[in-house]
C-alpha cells in the first residue's frame, strides 16, 4: 500500500486507538478495577471480540453514516476523522462529556458544509434521535435486567462464593459480547468516513471466502482499537471502575449487559433482518455512544434502587454533549478542511459535473419532483455541486429532499461497462442473473448512476428494488450496496483499489 494512503488513514487509526483506550473501559472497567477480571484477560477478550464485531457486523451502522454524507476523497476523510479525534481529545482534556459517535457526525456535516454536498436531514434526524434513545433504552434495559437478576438471586439462593465465580465468568462473557457490539457499532465512527475512499481491494482467501476491502479497512480500525485497549485502557479502566461507578460486581455485570444490548440493537443487521422478515419495525443501525449507554444503564439501576444516589449532573452532561460535541467537531472539520485544501493543496472532496437533460427531467417527474422551473436549465452543464445548488436556488424553490433528488439525478457519472472491467468485478458476490444482466449491457455507457440502475433493472428483476416497505428494507439495501459497488468500480474517477 502507498505510504501516502497510510498517512491519510492515520487519523482513523488514531481515532480507533482513542476509542480502544476509552470505550474498552465501559466494557471491562469495573471488572478490572474490582480485580474480578485480570487486565490481560480483559484486554485480550476485548481486542479479539472488538475485531470480530467490526469485521463481521460493522457494516450496518457504517451505512447510516454513509447516508449522512459520503466523504469521497481520502484527504477529506483523513480530516473528518482527525477533526473528530481532536474534538474528543480536547473535550476529554477539558473534562467535558464527549462521544466519538457525536464527534464524527459533526465532522461529516462539517465536510458536507465545506464541500457543498447537501446533508441528508432525514438521516441526521434519525441519528440524533438514536442519541436520545440510546441512554433511555440502556436505562430501561438496565432496570429490567436488574429486576430479573434480583429475582433470580432471591429464588436460587446461590452461595456468595459461587455467585462470585459466576459473576467472574459472567463479566468475561458479557465483556466479550460488549466488545463485539462495540466493534460492530463503533467501527463506523473510526473507519466509516474512509469507506467511500477505501484504498483496499477485495481478495479471496484460498478460495474459501472473500475478504472485502471494507472488511480489511474495518480490521485495520479494529487493530487500532485493540492497540488502544492494550496500551492505554488500563488507566481509564481503573478511573472508571473506582470513581464513576460505585457498583457491586453484579451491578457492573448488569451495566455491561444493558450497554452491550443497546450497542448490539443499534448495530445488528441480523436482528434487523429478523424484525423486517416478520413485518416488525426495525431499529435504525446507527453508531451510538457507549459511554452514554453506560450512564443510562447506571441511572436505570439507580432508579430501581429508589433514585436517591443518582447524580443528575451527569445526565445534564450527557444531554449537553448531544449538541456541543457535533457543533465543535463540525467547526473544527470545516476550518481544517480549508487549510488542508488551500495551504496543503489536497483534494478534500471529489466533485462532478451536473446537467439537467430531458432524461433527467423525465426521471425527476417519475419521482414526483415538480420540473416546470427546471426546464429552463435544460442543456446547461455546471461544474461542481456548490455552483449547481446556487443555480437551482436562483431558478426554483426546492425543499431539502427534492433538492437532493435533483442533485442526485443530474450528477454526471460517465459509467462505462467495458467487458474487462465487468469480469474484474467480485463475481462471487453478484448473483448469476445479476452478472448476466451486466454482461448483456457490456460496452454501453451511462451518463448517470440511476441510468445504469434503470437499465439493469430493465434487463433483470435481480437488479430491481421492491416497494419501500419494512419487509423489503434489507433486500433493497442489498441491491443498493451492489449498485454502489458498480458505480465505484465502473465509474470514471475510481478511488485507488476502491471496493464494496
Amino acid at each position: 500500500m502507498d505510504a501516502g494512503i497510510l498517512i491519510f488513514l492515520s487519523s482513523g487509526i488514531f481515532l480507533g486507538w482513542s476509542l480502544g483506550a476509552n470505550d474498552a473501559a465501559n466494557v471491562f472497567g469495573t471488572a478490572v478495577a474490582t480485580r474480578m477480571v485480570r487486565f490481560t484477560t480483559a484486554a485480550l477478550v476485548c481486542g479479539v471480540f472488538v475485531a470480530l464485531g467490526a469485521v463481521f457486523s460493522g457494516a450496518g451502522a457504517t451505512h447510516t453514516l454513509g447516508a449522512l454524507g459520503s466523504v469521497n476523497a481520502l484527504p477529506g476523510a483523513f480530516m473528518a476523522a482527525l477533526s473528530a479525534a481532536l474534538t474528543v481529545y480536547a473535550m476529554t482534556h477539558a473534562g467535558l462529556p464527549v462521544s466519538t459517535s457525536q464527534a464524527i457526525v459533526g465532522a461529516i456535516v462539517g465536510w458536507n458544509l465545506f464541500s457543498g454536498f447537501p446533508t441528508d436531514l432525514e438521516a441526521l434526524g434519525k441519528i440524533a434521535a438514536t442519541w436520545v434513545a440510546c441512554p433511555l433504552l440502556a436505562g430501561f434495559l438496565g432496570a429490567l435486567v436488574y429486576r430479573i437478576t434480583a429475582a433470580v438471586m432471591r429464588r436460587t439462593r446461590i452461595h456468595l462464593l459461587r455467585l462470585d465465580a459466576y459473576t467472574r465468568s459472567g463479566l468475561i462473557l458479557a465483556g466479550a459480547f460488549g466488545s463485539y457490539s462495540l466493534g460492530a457499532n463503533n467501527i463506523g465512527n473510526v473507519m466509516g468516513v474512509f469507506v467511500e475512499a477505501n484504498p483496499f481491494s477485495t481478495f479471496s482467501v484460498e478460495g474459501l471466502f472473500n475478504f472485502t476491502g471494507v472488511q480489511q479497512l474495518f480490521l485495520l480500525g479494529a487493530v487500532a482499537i485493540g492497540v488502544g485497549v492494550f496500551t492505554y485502557s488500563r488507566r481509564v479502566m481503573t478511573t472508571i471502575g473506582a470513581g464513576l461507578m460505585p457498583l457491586s460486581p453484579i451491578g457492573a455485570w448488569i451495566v455491561v449487559i444493558a450497554h452491550s444490548l443497546v450497542l448490539f440493537l443499534f448495530a445488528s443487521e441480523g436482528l434487523e433482518h429478523l424484525l423486517a422478515s416478520h413485518g416488525l419495525p426495525t431499529i435504525p443501525l446507527v453508531p451510538v455512544s457507549s459511554s452514554q449507554a453506560v450512564v443510562g444503564a447506571v441511572v436505570g439501576i439507580g432508579l430501581m434502587k429508589g433514585g436517591s444516589d443518582l447524580q443528575w449532573r451527569s445526565l445534564l452532561g450527557v444531554a449537553s454533549g448531544w449538541i456541543t460535541t457535533p457543533v465543535i467537531a463540525c467547526l473544527v472539520c470545516f476550518v481544517c478542511l480549508f487549510f488542508l485544501q488551500n495551504v496543503f493543496q489536497q483534494q478534500v472532496y471529489r466533485d462532478s459535473a451536473y446537467e439537467i437533460s430531458p432524461a433527467v427531467l423525465e426521471r425527476l417527474e417519475r419521482q414526483g419532483v415538480a420540473t416546470t422551473d427546471l426546464t429552463a436549465l435544460q442543456g446547461r452543464r455546471v461544474a461542481g455541486v456548490r455552483a449547481f445548488r446556487k443555480l437551482l436556488a436562483q431558478t426554483t424553490e426546492l425543499g431539502p429532499q427534492n433538492e437532493r433528488e435533483v442533485i442526485s439525478a443530474a450528477r454526471i457519472a460517465s459509467i462505462e461497462l467495458e467487458p474487462s472491467r465487468i469480469e474484474a468485478l467480485d463475481t462471487a458476490w453478484l448473483s448469476p442473473n445479476q452478472l448476466d444482466a451486466l454482461r448483456a449491457l457490456s460496452g454501453r455507457r451511462f451518463a448517470h448512476r440511476w441510468a445504469l440502475a434503470e437499465a439493469l433493472a430493465a434487463k433483470s428483476k435481480a437488479w430491481r428494488t421492491r416497494p419501500d416497505t419494512i419487509a423489503n428494507k434489507l433486500y433493497n439495501r442489498s441491491i443498493r450496496r451492489k449498485l454502489d459497488y458498480l458505480y465505484q468500480h465502473l465509474g470514471p474517477a475510481t478511488a485507488p483499489g476502491s471496493s464494496r
Binding site: 456468595l160 462464593l161 462470585d164
Partner: protein
C-alpha cells in the same frame, strides 16, 4: 473449572465453621448445665475439651479461608465483610472456651435458688448465638432473609439482659459475703457477654447484608 472447585471447597469450609460455632454453643450450654448440677466433673472436663478442640478448629478454618480468599482474590467487594464476620464468629467460640475455663478454675459456689437463673441466662445467650449463625448462613445464600434471624438475636440478647439484671439483684439481696456476691456477678456477666457479642456481630451483619443486595 479450577475456580469452581476452589469455590466449592471454600463453601464447605465456611459451612464447617458455622457448624462449629453452633455446636460449640450446644456444648457450652451442656457444660454449664453439668456444672450447675454437679460442679466440676469428668463430664464437664470432657465438654471443655470438646470446646477447646472446636476453638482450635475454628481458628484453623478462619486462617485457611482468609488465605484462600486473598490468594485467589475472591469476592473483592465483600472480602473484608466476610473475613470480619468469620473472625467475629470465631471470637464467640473463644468466649465459650474462656467462660468454661473460668468455671473450671474459679469454681464459683452458686446457691441453689440462683441455679435456675444461671441456666436461663446460658440458654438465652447460646440461643442468641444460634440465631446469629442462622443469620450468617443467610448472609451467604439469601441476604434478604438475614433480618428474619437478626431480630431474634436482638430478642434473645434483650431477654438475657433482663435475666442478668434480675440475677444481679437476687445475688446482692442474698446473705452471702460481698466477695461471693461479686464472684457470682462476675460469672453472670461473663455469660451475658456472649449474647452481647452476638448482638454486636448482628449489627455489623445488617450492614454487610445491605451491601450484598444487588
Amino acid at each position: 473449572m479450577r475456580l469452581f472447585n476452589r469455590t466449592k471447597q471454600l463453601e464447605s469450609w465456611i459451612d464447617e465453621l458455622l457448624n462449629t460455632v453452633s455446636e460449640a454453643g450446644l456444648v457450652f450450654c451442656e457444660a454449664i448445665k453439668l456444672y450447675l448440677g454437679d460442679g466440676i466433673s469428668e463430664r464437664y472436663d470432657q465438654r471443655l475439651q470438646q470446646v477447646m478442640q472446636q476453638e482450635s478448629r475454628g481458628d484453623e478454618l478462619c486462617r485457611d479461608i482468609e488465605q484462600a480468599i486473598y490468594r485467589e482474590t475472591l469476592i473483592p467487594d465483600s472480602r473484608q465483610d466476610v473475613l470480619q464476620l468469620l473472625e467475629a464468629l470465631d471470637d464467640i467460640i473463644n468466649k465459650f472456651q474462656e467462660v468454661l475455663w473460668y468455671f473450671s478454675i474459679e469454681t464459683p459456689d452458686i446457691p441453689t435458688e440462683l441455679l435456675g437463673d444461671y441456666q436461663e441466662l446460658t440458654e438465652q445467650s447460646t440461643e442468641a448465638v444460634e440465631r446469629l449463625v442462622l443469620a450468617s448462613r443467610a448472609f451467604f445464600r439469601d441476604p434478604g432473609a438475614v433480618n428474619d434471624h437478626l431480630h431474634k438475636v436482638r430478642f434473645y440478647e434483650s431477654e438475657a439482659d433482663e435475666t442478668v439484671t434480675r440475677l444481679r439483684k437476687r445475688i446482692f439481696s442474698t446473705d452471702l459475703p460481698l466477695p461471693n456476691k461479686i464472684h457470682l456477678r462476675f460469672f453472670a456477666e461473663r455469660i451475658v457477654w456472649i449474647s452481647d457479642l452476638a448482638e454486636d456481630v448482628a449489627e455489623q451483619l445488617v450492614i454487610y447484608s445491605i451491601k450484598r443486595l444487588v
